[in-house]
């Protein structure tokens, strides 16, 4: 029996690839190889933009990721939260957190916040969590002109009128940095924020799945999207930039090895297919 026939008949391809996949991931995670990690230009640009937020500036963090995408967007989200709250501590900036796509975003936003040490920061003066505001694109449009009308209360029920920090924060004129973390298409954020933010020179940074990065390129080239984080690769890079390696860095080696297997398999399968075509059999 030819080797090729034996492979296709006796070996259940799924299980074999799955086993190799498990081994390839397990090894680097237990004993990190420390492969070099390229930091992309947009990641560096996102870091500098957040670093350049002026004293007392307002940072808006919208967390709209879902449970399945936490593995990809989590590292970047945690790194940006740590950097934002370091700005709060050093430059007295203000942070506004909100969610508008689905409830899971609020829960994962809280999970990212749990990685940040908040000692010495006072809720209501340094940062505010507006919680889940239903309405998706309507909320993104309303926060540009009248934040207090679309978010009458914060997550804990205190009216936004009475929160000291939000006294003179209500529209795009008061924001200095717009960040969104999304696992669906990012054009909704650019559609609603793009025009006004570009006019005011407020940067827009979006942490998105690497699958949606090609969709964002037209906006990145047109200038409406100022910088973006390309999921876990950029998350690990951002962690290195703020000097606190964490979840992302640990994943990088496993990413690489699992990736090599993917590339090797695609060449093997496509090679077989093209050879078969050359041989004239479809």
């Amino acid at each position: 029996m030819s080797f090729r026939k034996w492979i296709s008949e006796r070996i259940n391809q799924d299980r074999t690839i799955f086993l190799i996949y498990l081994l390839l991931i397990a090894i680097p995670m237990l004993r990190p190889i420390g492969l070099p990690l390229p930091i992309e230009e947009p990641t560096r640009k996102a870091y500098e933009l957040l670093e350049k937020v002026p004293k007392g500036g307002v940072i808006v963090l919208v967390s709209d990721e879902g449970f399945p995408s936490w593995a990809e967007l989590g590292p970047g989200e945690i790194a940006v939260y740590r950097h934002a709250f370091r700005k709060v501590r050093q430059d007295g900036c203000k942070v506004i957190m909100l969610t508008c796509y689905e409830i899971a975003g609020m829960i994962l936003g809280e999970r990212a916040l749990s990685y940040v040490d908040l000692t010495g920061l006072k809720y209501g003066e340094d940062w505010v969590q507006l919680g889940y505001i239903p309405g998706y694109e309507a909320v993104l449009a309303a926060m540009m002109t009248d934040l207090k009308s679309i978010a009458p209360v914060d997550k804990f029920g205190t009216p936004t009128k009475d929160i000291p920090m939000l006294k003179n924060i209500n529209s795009i004129d008061d924001y200095d940095f717009l960040y969104a973390c999304t696992y669906t298409a990012m054009d909704v954020y650019i559609r609603q924020w793009g025009e006004k933010a570009l006019a005011k020179g407020v940067p827009i940074v979006i942490n998105m799945l690497s699958g949606t990065v090609p969709l964002a390129m037209p906006y990145y080239r047109a200038g409406t999207l100022t910088a973006y984080l390309n999921s876990v690769v950029a998350g690990a890079g951002y962690e290195l930039l703020i000097g606190q390696p964490g979840m992302g860095a640990a994943l990088m080696d496993a990413q690489s090895t699992a990736h090599i297997l993917a590339i090797a398999l695609i060449i093997f399968v496509q090679g077989l297919f093209i050879l078969r075509l050359m041989g004239g059999r479809r």
């Binding site: 008949e9 006796r10 070996i11 259940n12 299980r15 074999t16 799955f18 086993l19 498990l22 081994l23 991931i25 397990a26 995670m29 237990l30 399945p68 995408s69 936490w70 593995a71 990809e72 989590g74 409830i103 889940y132 239903p134 694109e137 309507a138 449009a141 009458p152 209360v153 029920g157 054009d187 909704v188 650019i190 559609r191 609603q192 793009g194 025009e195 799945l209 690497s210 699958g211 949606t212 990065v213 090609p214 969709l215 037209p218 906006y219 080239r221 047109a222 200038g223 409406t224 999921s231 876990v232 690769v233 979840m247 640990a250 994943l251 496993a254 990413q255 699992a258 990736h259 993917a262």
Partner: protein, 225 residues
């Protein structure tokens, strides 16, 4: 290693969810129904909380009865009437209002961000690689758009342009598919991270052993899959 019940419960659920990789079984179905039930509970808790702060408090505590809020509340209750066949048509009013707001908000964003900014091309006389890039982008955008002309047969000049546009879109889609696969890989690798820490390592070890047995079983015993 402190054995806390939380991590043990989490690991048990993850194992139940991944048992589907072996084959569809009772544990997987239980895990799936548990997650739907919890999701429903979470949605109801947060839905009621929102209702309290947005409708109940202003109406009953602050007594703003004459404000437009009363109209929204009635429309909202109409929305809930979709459950019953006779009053289903009443729910079309709130749906139309929400659809009106959603489309208007989308359209007002589309004109600037998706049409004007993307139609703005850059100069072809900048010199060096930049010029070539600008030329390629302008040509790819132009021909790609020609491909999306439907009411005229793709013959003659339009046929040539649309044909080239199809190649441009093909490169773009190939690139998107490649990065989409990377997204799938990092999604599954990321979940592996929880299973490679201390409590989860046992689950992975068990999974690997089952797989190895499965493969050996395929080779030795079962002749044909």
């Amino acid at each position: 290693m402190s054995f806390d019940w939380g991590t043990a419960a989490e690991m048990a659920l993850v194992l139940m969810a991944w048992s589907l990789l072996y084959r569809d079984n009772v544990f997987y179905r239980v895990a799936e129904n548990l997650t739907i039930g919890w999701f429903m509970a979470m949605s109801l808790v947060i839905g009621l909380d929102l209702l309290r702060t947005r409708v109940y408090n202003p109406l009953f505590i602050e007594g703003r009865w004459l404000s437009p809020l009363i109209i929204v509340t009635i429309l909202g209750l109409f929305y809930l009437l979709r459950l019953y066949r006779e009053t289903r048509w009443l729910a079309r009013w709130p749906i139309s209002l929400m659809a009106g707001v959603a489309s208007a908000v989308a359209v007002k964003g589309v004109i600037y961000a998706q049409i004007i900014r993307l139609v703005t091309m850059k100069s072809w006389a900048v010199g060096g690689l930049e010029t070539i890039n600008n030329i390629i982008i302008a040509v790819f955008t132009f021909t790609g758009l020609c491909y999306f002309i439907f009411t005229k047969e793709h013959r003659g000049v339009l046929g040539y342009l649309a044909g080239f546009g199809r190649y441009a879109l093909m490169i773009c889609f190939g690139w998107t598919a490649g990065t989409y696969l990377m997204s799938l890989i990092s999604m599954s690798v990321g979940h592996m991270q929880t299973l490679m820490q201390v409590p989860g390592i046992y689950v992975s070890a068990v999974a690997m052993i089952i797989l190895i047995i499965g493969i050996i079983y395929d080779i030795k015993v079962k002749p044909k899959i």
